[in-house]
């Protein structure tokens, strides 16, 4: 059962092509989205979040074609999205911030207080609910971003670099939360921290220069690394797999790079 179907996706930003000929099929579970900077991770997530528009191709989320404006609202109510960077209103408390997003997501007013409490509890911000957002540390703001994304218990959860700014202990907790969310929801996590993928993801998609360079599981990516032998670059199996898969993808297509 796939909840996200992407075929022939092409995204352009002015004159540069951010994504080209991307085909993806994702179902419930935690999917890691890896790739170097500029590979198109954020572009893909923004298209799936219905924030950016595809130049070509078809994107189907929860069975609805998001190219159809009339179907977009229904999909958006079941989405959770953490952008790479997000702002907040300075006067808001943590609870108000999440409640505001819940309101934007068209949640029933009676459900909002409980949903906000639960979301904050899940990211470990339950005790800071009445603090002003501007008093939070960077890692806490990141967790607040995760809380607003999961407040409507989304079926599709899109997280752009969620672990940036989290300390190691929080990252371990966050991975546990990811696994828990991935039981029911389709979670797509973009990251450049390869070890996050190894620990939390059931599947890995590797993007490079706007194209899918590799798809598989963390274990199969590690296997790619082991196959290249000891001269592979990287400290862990999965890191060696990452560099090896990137290299393998680049060699036939663009021999000069």
């Amino acid at each position: 059962m796939s909840t996200i179907r992407v075929s022939g996706l092409r995204v352009r930003h002015r004159r540069t092509v951010a994504l080209d000929a991307v085909d993806l099929d994702l179902g419930p579970g935690v999917h890691g989205l890896l790739g170097p900077n500029g590979a198109g991770k954020t572009s893909l997530i923004r298209v799936l979040a219905t924030v950016a528009q595809a130049s070509a191709g078809r994107v189907e989320i929860l069975g609805e074609d998001v190219g159809e404006p009339a179907r977009r609202g229904a999909v958006r109510a079941r989405l959770g999205y953490l952008p790479q960077e997000f702002g907040y209103y300075p006067g808001f408390t943590v609870r108000e911030f999440v409640a505001y997003v819940a309101w934007l997501k068209d949640m029933t007013a009676a459900d909002v207080p409980a949903a906000v409490e639960l979301a904050l509890h899940r990211v470990g911000l339950g005790d800071r609910a009445d603090a002003k957002v501007k008093t939070l540390s960077g890692g806490m703001v990141r967790r607040l971003g995760i809380a607003q994304a999961i407040v409507n218990e989304p079926e599709i959860l899109l997280l752009d670099e969620p672990t940036a700014g989290l300390d190691p202990e929080q990252r371990v907790e966050f991975r546990a939360l990811l696994r828990e969310l991935g039981v029911r929801a389709t979670v797509l996590v973009s990251t450049h921290l390869v070890e996050d993928v190894a620990a939390a993801c059931t599947e890995v998609t590797l993007l490079d220069a706007g194209r899918v360079a590799y798809r598989g599981t963390p274990a199969s990516l590690s296997a790619v690394g082991e196959a290249t032998g000891p001269d592979g670059i990287g400290d862990s199996g999965i890191e060696r797999g990452y560099t090896a898969a990137l290299r393998a993808h680049r060699t036939p297509v663009e021999p000069t790079r």
Binding site: A74, F86, Y88, Y89, L104, D111
Partner: protein, 343 residues
Amino acid sequence: MSTTPWHASADLAARYADGSLPESDAWSLEKHLERCGACAARVSAAVRQSPAAGPVLARMREAVLKEAAPMETVLKEAVCAKAARRESREAGPAAAHAAHPPAGGHPLASGHVGGPVAAPLLTPPARSVLRARPRARFLLRALWAAGPAFRGAWLPAVWLVALGALALSQGAGADASRPLLLALAPVVPVAGVALSYGAHADPLHEIAAATPCGGLRLMLTRTAAVLAVSVPLLTLTGVLLPASGTPGAAAWLLPGLTLTLASLALAGWVGCRAATALTGGGWLCAVLVPSWASGGAALTELTQQLDRCLAGSRAQGAWGAAAVLCAALLAARRSAYDHMEKP
């Protein structure tokens, strides 16, 4: 969220009833129970059988029923239904709070709060806070809808225009105050829109754009809020100013609305910031440039120019037609607002 194939197992219900279920799991179960009658019944049964919460619930039910007795039958039934539904949700805390029997008070008072584990029924101090909350919550929501304009410099700017015009009328230029106000007023709501919506103005834009409210709906909500503040304030100011012939104090309303709608319509192509700059700047140029260019009698020229732009049924009719055209454009291109400028 609504159609989860997941259901509570008998084991889960039993662990929930005896309080051994971790808090986070209990919360997700409670969330599920709000939607699933079958599971609610299963958990209810488990809770009633549990040695810890069973007797407490029975006492609570009695207290609730006793209190509801003098009420109309219909209301009583409603309370029973609510109490029955709540039983399942409160089993955990009920067991925990066994030492504190439910204090007297209206059981419906906490009914509107879908709060986590609905503790307010058992903790009286929290209740007064919750009773006061709906109104505060409504006010907060109204401000949220209004969005960023009210938190920034726009609101002071509106007051500055209104009070500045009044101060001017008291001072030297009694004749100058109304033309100046009429020249500036149509730009005020346009500026409000510029500061309310879009990636440049709203720090939450990226998150909001991925929600069902995002796009045109949020933009219209915020525009409505901006108009609700600026229209009465500036029109009232105009009325308070000494009358100096045409145009009247309300003459700016239709142009103001038209410029606002034109900004929204243009925003579908060029983004909110550029669109408001075009319409607002365009208006100011059209009105102010001739009076500057004329050299000497700038004020007379401004009044004449405003007369041409605002006074008379022909001018107002043209503004009205333009407003209708812009509104039609907005409606026709509503999906364009789902994907606007990137920060």
